[in-house]
């Protein structure tokens, strides 16, 4: 059999192939939609007897003998998995005692085992869901899995793992979390929030990160040392400020030193205001001198009232006012300098100065 491949024949063949492809795609889309619809309906059917009980628990209206919770305990097989999904959904909507009861329900029903299994799945979405569930259970038994997931090959999984270790709240995860910051995919704010969730036991990990960590880990650690007033971190923070290899780290170190509040760090901060330091470091150091509130910083800050960078000059004026009477006198004496005049007007509006 031979084919006559003329131009018209080729066009016809292409049109037929395109038509067939369109039909196949349409059938696939319809098939997927029907399958999804059926699956959703089946889930609704399975959840129908359980949903009122979950709503009762989630609204904090379970009977005194825990009748609704007991009723939910009877769910088995697929219904139990659907129930866990519903409970996880509701945990994002309610807080307080009902949320605690829902967490307890998940724990009692062995949701953690299911979550750990999912967290090892080759499918990214399942790993993320598993980690999310571990976080909801807030069970320390899931911590090792969550810590391993901080090094997962998928960014989505790593990002979820950060939230999960924060929800579990065990300080053992602090160092692996800070170490994981060397890779992208983890937002620094999320990491800081997760570390705060771990409580006071993270100070050793913070010190380690300041000394040996990646710049991103150092930035987060410096920020948290400032918030937590970790005085033991001050010498390392001074070193980071003086070396200023990374301006973000150095400015975070300056801010932290201001918050920690050791008067002996005023010298290092004053030095960091010099013109050869990067702008953001100088700005942070000037603000930190205001937080520190030591009068020895007044001459340095006064010099910066005329800084060519207006943000630096304004920060100097604000810091001088924060230092107290001597700083305020210096600002009044330079009232004609724009930054000083603005800061004075603002302070008068706020009632700081009369």
């Amino acid at each position: 059999m031979t084919f006559d491949l003329t131009l018209a024949g080729l066009i016809t063949l292409a049109a037929v192939m395109t038509g067939v492809a369109c039909v196949v795609m349409a059938v696939t889309v319809v098939g997927v939609k029907v399958q999804r619809g059926l699956s959703e309906r089946a889930t609704e059917r399975r959840l129908a007897p359980l949903r009122p009980l979950v709503i009762r628990v989630a609204s904090g209206e379970d009977t005194e003998d825990g009748g609704a919770l007991r009723g939910l305990g009877t769910a088995t097989g697929r219904s139990r998995r659907d129930l866990h999904d519903l409970v996880v959904q509701l945990l994002g909507k309610v807080r307080g005692e009902p949320a605690e009861q829902l967490v307890e329900l998940l724990r009692e029903q062995g949701a953690l085992r299911d979550a750990v299994r999912r967290a090892h799945s080759p499918i990214v979405a399942r790993r993320v869901r598993g980690l999310h569930l571990i976080g909801c259970c807030r069970d320390v038994d899931g911590l090792d899995v969550a810590i391993d997931a901080l090094e997962d090959r998928s960014r989505r999984v790593r990002s979820q793992a950060v939230h999960t270790v924060g929800q579990v709240g065990d300080p053992r995860a602090a160092r692996p979390l800070l170490h994981a910051l060397r890779r992208d995919g983890v937002h620094l704010g999320d990491a800081a929030e997760a570390l705060v969730g771990m409580g006071y036991g993270i100070s050793d990990a913070l010190l380690w990160a300041l000394e040996e960590g990646h710049p991103r880990a150092r930035t987060v650690a410096a920020h948290l040392c400032g918030i937590g007033g970790v005085r033991a971190a001050a010498p390392v923070l001074v070193t980071l400020l003086e070396s200023h290899d990374d301006p973000t780290v150095a400015s975070a170190a300056a801010t932290a030193l201001g918050k920690i509040g050791r008067p002996q760090d005023a010298g290092a901060l004053a030095a960091a205001t010099l013109h050869f330091f990067p702008f953001q470091v100088r700005h942070a150091a000037i603000e930190a001198l205001g937080d520190l509130g030591v009068e020895s910083a007044v001459p340095v800050l006064t010099r910066h009232l005329s800084d060519p960078r207006s943000q630096v000059a304004e920060a100097a004026a604000t810091s001088l006012i924060a230092i107290g009477p001597r700083g305020r006198r210096a600002v009044v004496e330079h009232e004609l300098v724009p930054a000083a005049g603005t800061a004075l007007a603002l302070a008068r509006l706020k009632g700081v100065l009369v």
Partner: protein, 130 residues
Amino acid sequence: MVQTPERRPRVLVADDDPDIRDLVAFKLTQAGFDVTCVGDGLEAWDVFVDSPPDFMVLDVMMPCLSGLDLLVKIREAAQVRIPVLLLSGRSRDADVDAGFAAGADDYMVKPFSPRELVHRVNGILARPLS
């Protein structure tokens, strides 16, 4: 003499999330309210026009008509000021400000405590009408 039972305050709950709707309705019913639930802003407006409730719990993000737009419409239309509590996943200061600026009497952020919701509704209803 036949004694008429005390009328239960009517609360309209508008939220496109069925979980929230059911949860709030259940909690408020248990607390002694007569609750009507709807799934979007337009439905809420229809209920409001047909028979104005004593209190409204509105989600901010709803299909058809957002909670904020609905609230503005209600404030423009109603002779009597009906207390409204906004229940929203938006927690930024600007969102809360926008809610109060639109005329809300209270603003709660999700995840929320159902018990606190009942306390707030009772507290607002106990205030003298302005």
